[in-house]
Structures are given as structure tokens and as C-alpha cells.
Amino acid sequence: MMNAQPTRRLVQLALVAALGLGALSQARPALAQAARDPQAEQFVQTKAQRVIAVLADSKQSVAQKKATFHQAIDELADVPRITNFVLGKYARTVTPDQRQRFASAFRVYAENVYQNRIDDYHGETLRVTGSTVRKPGDVIVNTVISGGQVGQPVAVSWRVLGGGASWKVVDVQFKGVWLAITQQQDFVSTIDNAGGNVNVLISQLQRDAQRPVVARQ
């Protein structure tokens, strides 16, 4: 569709441009980064990769995966803290009984969400690219997940709280969207729409957990 001469020149031009820009972009990482936290980075590298590996492990049966996943989540995430967070303003007003019922319903719901999607994971690898210390003990660790089912490498950030060798993930961000924050909006709106009744949300989560897995198209 194009004759050879202009095409070749276009390629040459592109190559020159690419090389020049490549050189420019090489210079960039030299810029000093804000404070990093190597321990938090190490934590995410190890534990988050483990969760991904569990999901991707084709040698394990689905039942085995579920059990390992349950355990891996506890090592990775601060489940009680997240449970409190996703209740938003209602975290202040729930009764101890509601809190406890919500916690178990949420846990089952959250694990189901992932387990229903186990097929979506196949051998992705996670690589830490840096971190930003928001304040001591509150770090955003940046990673790139690639390979497997991911067409393009995906940038994923992990918010980890803790210190020293003890860290836990409280939120995960893809392309700007924090999952726990989004989940909080979802739940708070559901409770709002129920006139502030947390029990309505708990019932809905329990119902959803019993829903059969939807067949993939």
C-alpha cells in the first residue's frame, strides 16, 4: 500500500527519534526519588508474589488453592483493618455483634470474588519498581505485574502499613483506583440506601456468597 522509499525513510526517522528519546528517558531515573522503604518493598515482593503464584499454580486442585489462598491472604493483608475501613462512617456505629457478623460475611465474600476468578491467573510475575514513604510506617510500594494473562504489563501499587520486618497490605491500586476505597464507597452507599441499616449489607453479602459461580462466556 505504500511504496518502499518513503516507508524506509519513515522507519529511519522513527529509529532516530526512538534512539534520541530512549537516551532521554535513560537519564530520568537518575533524578533522586523520594524516600523509599526497602523492607516494605521486600515484603510486597515476597508476599504479593506468593498470592499470585498460588492463584497461578496449575498443579494444585481448586480446593487446595482455596486453602492456600486463605492462608496467603492472612500473611499479605491486614484483614481486620480493611474490614473496619470498608465500613466507612458506619465503622463507628455498628454494634459489636454486627461488626462480627460483617467481618465473617466480608471475608467469605472477598475470597469468593477472587476464587471465582482463579481461571484469570496464569503465571504472572510481580516486580517491585520503587516505593514512596507517605510517612513512617505508611508506604506505597509500586510494582509491575506482567506475563501470564496480562496483555500489557500492569502497574499496581500496594499501600502497606507497619514497620521493621512486620508489614501488612491495606489497599491495592490499579491505574488510579484503590480497591479498598472503592469497596468502601460501594458498601457505604448500600448501607445508606438501606436507611443506615448495616444488616442489609450483611445479608446481601451472605446471599452473594451462596450464589453459584457464573459460567464464563
Binding site: A14, A17, K89, Y90, A91, A110, V154, V169, Q184, I191
Partner: protein, 311 residues
Amino acid sequence: MVGVSPEQNSQVFSSETRPVRVARRPRLAAAALGLIAVGGLASIASSARAQDAEPVPTVAAPPSPATPPDQDLTDQDPTVQDPLHGFNRASYGFSMGLDRVLIGPIAHGYMKVTPTPVRHRVSSVVYNLGEPSTALNDVLQGRPKRAGVTTSRFLINSTVGLLGLFDVAAKWGLPSHDGDFGQTFGRYGVKPGPYLYVPVIGPLNFRDGVGRALDFATDPVGIAGGGYTTTFGATRLAVGTVDTRANADNAFRALDDATDPYVTVRSAYGQHRAALVREATGKTQDLPDFDDVPSSDPAPASAKTTPSATQ
């Protein structure tokens, strides 16, 4: 924190961002959308203004312990401005219904007959045709280096990458980035304004709605291709729409898990757009402390006193 896998999430975004450049409607529709957006802006400007008094969540500031808890909630959900929620919810319901009976089945059929690697190549071609529009916005944002990257990407991928089938440029150290008029407006300080769910087109806010209309009107590839009446234009529109929906399929499935899917989409969209604008302004996100629970309770009833609906 759970709900979407990395892959799904990348697709949540595809579903929200790609239509900007992919699912291009005919000019007429673009113009109509622009009018709706602008007209809407004028009529609701006052109420929008009132809510704009709150700090924009995209803007970074050092984390301040003195931040009132109320603002934290706003910070966490940049799209909390939803004065049109009655219309928006209806529009969301209508669009999802249409997806169930028409657009979804078409996308599922496409997914059935084409293997994943083929679909990735299609997405790649569709994305490549959006690069000139991104480059235009890079320039408008006063970022020549990024414009150079985008232009190089387009030149390389259109030639060496065989008309965009392969993202060779990314392998050569020229990663892609998104850009559109909504982002450009954001870079110059335009606030998102009220949330808007446009039937079929999807989630927007007023800023990005106007931006979207401008994206349609100024798209270099669209103009060079002779609009949507040509074979190229019509094919691109159709393929782009199906590709976008197919890429978003996991996101659609993930929405089934949301207890309030409408709010989930609104929240994710708002956060995503805010992040895209931060990318253009170079500012970092001002996250509230994780354990700060908003103290104000505008909820209609106290949860303590309503133990009824439990099983």
C-alpha cells in the same frame, strides 16, 4: 480491597478510558454530547460551584493530620459530586440492560471465535490509531517530550509494528501513556464537576464529557479517515466498540460482585480520571490516614437501632 484481579482492573480502565479514543460515535452524536455537556454545565453551574468548594482530591498536599474527617470522605471518592444521580442511575440501568441484550452478546460472540492473542493484536491496532490524538494532547499540555514519545510510538508501531499490530515501541523503551482533552483540562486546573452517566457511552464527569466531545472532533485519524461514513471510519468504530467491550468483560463480571454497582463504577471512574490528571500535573495523591474513619454521619438512621433485616 478485593473485587478485581489485576487483569480485570486493567480492563476496568480500558472500559472507561478506551472509549475516549476507540468507541467513537458519529460527529453528530459527538456534537450532541458536547451540547448536552455544555448546556448541562451552564444550568447546573451554580450547584456544581457550591460543591466545588471542597478541595479537589487530585491535588496533592502534605498529609495533614488536621484534615477534617468530612474531607477525607471526599478525598476518597473524587466523584462524590453527583447531583444528577436520579438521571444517572436510570441511565446506568438502561445502559446495562442494553449491554445485556445487545452489546454484551456481540462481544461474547467475538470472544468465542477469536483466541486471546488475536484479540490482543486487535486491541493493539485500535490503540495505535488513538496515538495521534494522545500526541495532540501531549502538545496542548506543553509536554514536548511526551509528545515525542507518542509520535515515535505511532511512527514505529505503524511501520515496524505492522500497522499497529505489535507494540514494538514499548519494547524499545517507549511505553505508552494515555492522554485526552479531559486530562488536558485537568492539567490546567479545570475541576471534574458533577458526575454524568451518559446512556451507552458510560461514565463521565462534565469536564471529561466536554473533553470527550473535543476528542471526537479533533481526532487526527478520524479526520484523515474521512469520518464515520467511510469504510475505514465505520470499520474502526465497529471494531473499536466491540474491542472495548470485550476488554471490559472481566470488569463487567466484577461488577456483578458489587453491592451497589452504580456507585462502584462512579468511584472507580472518578479515581481513575483523577489519577490520569495527576499524571499530567505531576502531583502526588493526598491519601488520608488509613484508619481515619469519617466522624460525621449524614446517614438517615443510626445502624444501632435497626437490627431487623438479618437472617
